[in-house]
């Protein structure tokens, strides 16, 4: 009985606010005469036909594959570079301004430059995703590595724990709460860039479809695409939460253990 109630409660928590917002949207837009903001009823009406046909495998899937590739690459690059930069004050001070310079270049300006370097195929799209995803991961990793407990630093030195062991069991573990925060941020940034990378020079993808709807003034379809993007975001974040609970299990356990019974 308890389990059912708890599951029910979780479902309610998941759906309550979205349902309320959707209802507000439904009634607010019901009489809308502005083509760019059609009634929610129409948007939901076109949604199944637009997305649950061949678009699912022909556009959504390729986009998600590119997103995964870019995200994983960004994760690797961000963590490796982040540890390297966070561990040395000098390295950080030299490299940071250049990184901040690159970070500030807006995607619409960056995309043509990447087209020149890497062509107009999948590689460039993945590079665009990496170019945006790497920053939250990198920045958070650097801060996580910088902020490790100095007592533990000394402990490692005393026990002559060095090299790969120190990296794995100490540095990465200590920084992992912040690294995970960065990875979380990078996920939604990745979805946004996935769309942006496909607006130009594409032949398939969610962003490509989106651009098509915009240039053809098919606003109900465009807004249905927005809803799909949101749903993808929710699904991916649930998956992320599952992975996160495994990776940070030690952290949660430690925090729980720190709660002394007294």
């Amino acid at each position: 009985m308890r389990a059912v109630l708890s599951a029910l409660r979780r479902v309610v928590a998941l759906l309550a606010l979205p349902v309320i917002l959707l209802l507000v949207w439904w009634f607010a837009s019901a009489d809308s005469r502005t083509p760019a903001m059609p009634p929610l009823k129409r948007i939901l009406g076109v949604l199944p036909d637009t997305w649950f046909g061949e678009r699912l495998t022909g556009d959504v899937l390729p986009s998600l594959i590119r997103l995964t590739e870019g995200y994983v690459a960004a994760l690797v690059i961000g963590i490796v570079a982040g540890v390297a930069i966070g561990s040395s004050r000098r390295v950080r001070l030299v490299v940071e301004p250049v990184l901040e310079f690159l970070r500030a270049i807006p995607p619409p300006a960056l995309v043509p430059i990447l087209f020149l370097i890497a062509g107009i195929g999948d590689t460039t799209k993945i590079l665009v995703i990496i170019a945006g995803c790497v920053w939250p991961i990198l920045l958070n990793t650097v801060e996580g590595v910088r902020g490790v407990d100095p007592v533990l630093v000394d402990t490692c030195r005393t026990y002559r724990v060095g090299g790969l062991l120190r990296l794995r069991t100490f540095v990465l573990r200590s920084a992992s709460p912040q690294i995970v925060t960065g990875a979380r941020q990078a996920l939604s940034v990745g979805i946004i860039l996935m769309v942006i990378s496909e607006l130009k020079a594409s032949t398939d993808g969610l962003g490509y479809t989106f651009e098509q709807f915009q240039t053809r003034f098919q606003y109900p379809q465009m807004w249905s695409g927005v809803l799909i993007l949101g749903l993808i975001g929710v699904v991916l974040s649930v998956l992320f939460r599952l992975v996160e609970s495994r990776v940070l299990a030690w952290h949660r356990g430690q925090r729980a253990a720190e709660r002394t019974p007294l």
């Binding site: 001070l93 300006a109 912040q178």
Partner: protein
């Protein structure tokens, strides 16, 4: 007994040039954040000067740094034209849009984040909505915003706040969640009220996360400001960039990108400085100072 003459003079000679000793010179440079940063930027700029000239990058599409700076210099001297505001006026517009949006996003993000983060019930109920709204690109909202708000500063401001808010919010939520249980229990046993608890327990743990969030949001806000200016046509650097791009004026285009990048660098230095003050007590700042 003094050593023989030759060895004495050799020792004295070696000891004499202490102020010229190699290690000491390097350590003087090696301690200054500003000099090290400039070193990094200098190497980067030199690389971008050499590669196009050497032909590794096509100079037609990747002009060397010197040409970009030349174009920047010309742009600075160009007065306001009917459709191409002067560089300084565009810069001013961008700064106002960016900083306003950032200020709103950070305040809203921190306040909402602390409230939601501190109340588990709220966190549970808002989680799905946050995860749904976060990945929606501002590009999607632009047609609707143009219709509602026109093509001035307002629609760009909206997307700037929209995009930056989530960065701050997520960081704050993570920070609040990471509260040290010992501190939390201590607060409870001392019967600290909710406001006190926020100030003494939640806030210090969350602060490093919040500062990272501000650093992330600062650049995101800048990027979205320029993007909005490019796509919507709001006056600012992005608008000038779009006009340069459309006209095929590659050096000016890169000059404007250079300005944007430099704003990012300066903004980061300022937030880092702010971080050093606010997080004085945190190991990341303390540890480095000790070294």
């Amino acid at each position: 007994m003094s050593p023989s003459r030759t060895s004495l003079s050799r020792d004295t000679f070696l000891n004499r040039g202490t102020f010229l000793k190699r290690g000491m010179f390097l350590s003087r440079v090696g301690d200054s954040p500003a000099l090290l940063g400039l070193l990094g930027l200098g190497v980067f700029a030199a690389l971008l000067e050499i590669l196009p000239r050497a032909g590794v990058l096509n100079p037609e599409y990747f002009p060397p740094t010197s040409r970009i700076i030349g174009a920047l210099w010309q742009e600075l001297g160009r007065p306001d034209q009917p459709f191409k505001p002067s560089l300084l006026s565009a810069l001013g517009d961008t700064l106002v849009t960016w900083l306003t949006g950032l200020a709103i996003a950070v305040s809203a993000g921190v306040v909402v984040g602390v409230i939601i983060g501190a109340v588990p019930l709220l966190r549970e109920f808002t989680a799905s909505t946050i995860e749904f709204l976060r990945p929606i690109p501002s590009v999607a909202l632009i047609p609707g915003l143009i219709v509602l708000l026109g093509v001035g500063r307002e629609p760009t401001l909206v997307i700037v706040v929209y995009a930056s808010f989530w960065q701050v919010l997520v960081q704050v939520l993570y920070g609040v969640a990471d509260v040290d249980p010992v501190a939390r229990d201590t607060a409870r046993s001392y019967h600290l009220g909710p406001l006190r608890r926020v100030r003494y327990v939640i806030w210090p743990t969350a602060l490093p996360y919040v500062m990272t969030g501000i650093r992330l949001a600062t650049t995101v806000a800048l990027i979205v400001t320029i993007t909005g200016e490019m796509v919507i046509g709001t006056p600012g650097l992005g608008d000038n960039l779009f006009v340069a791009y459309t006209g095929g004026d590659v050096p000016v285009m890169y000059a404007l990108i250079l300005v944007t990048g430099l704003i990012g660098v300066v903004a980061n230095s300022i937030t880092r400085a702010g971080e050093r003050i606010v997080l004085r007590w945190h190991p990341s700042v303390r540890g480095e100072v000790a070294v």
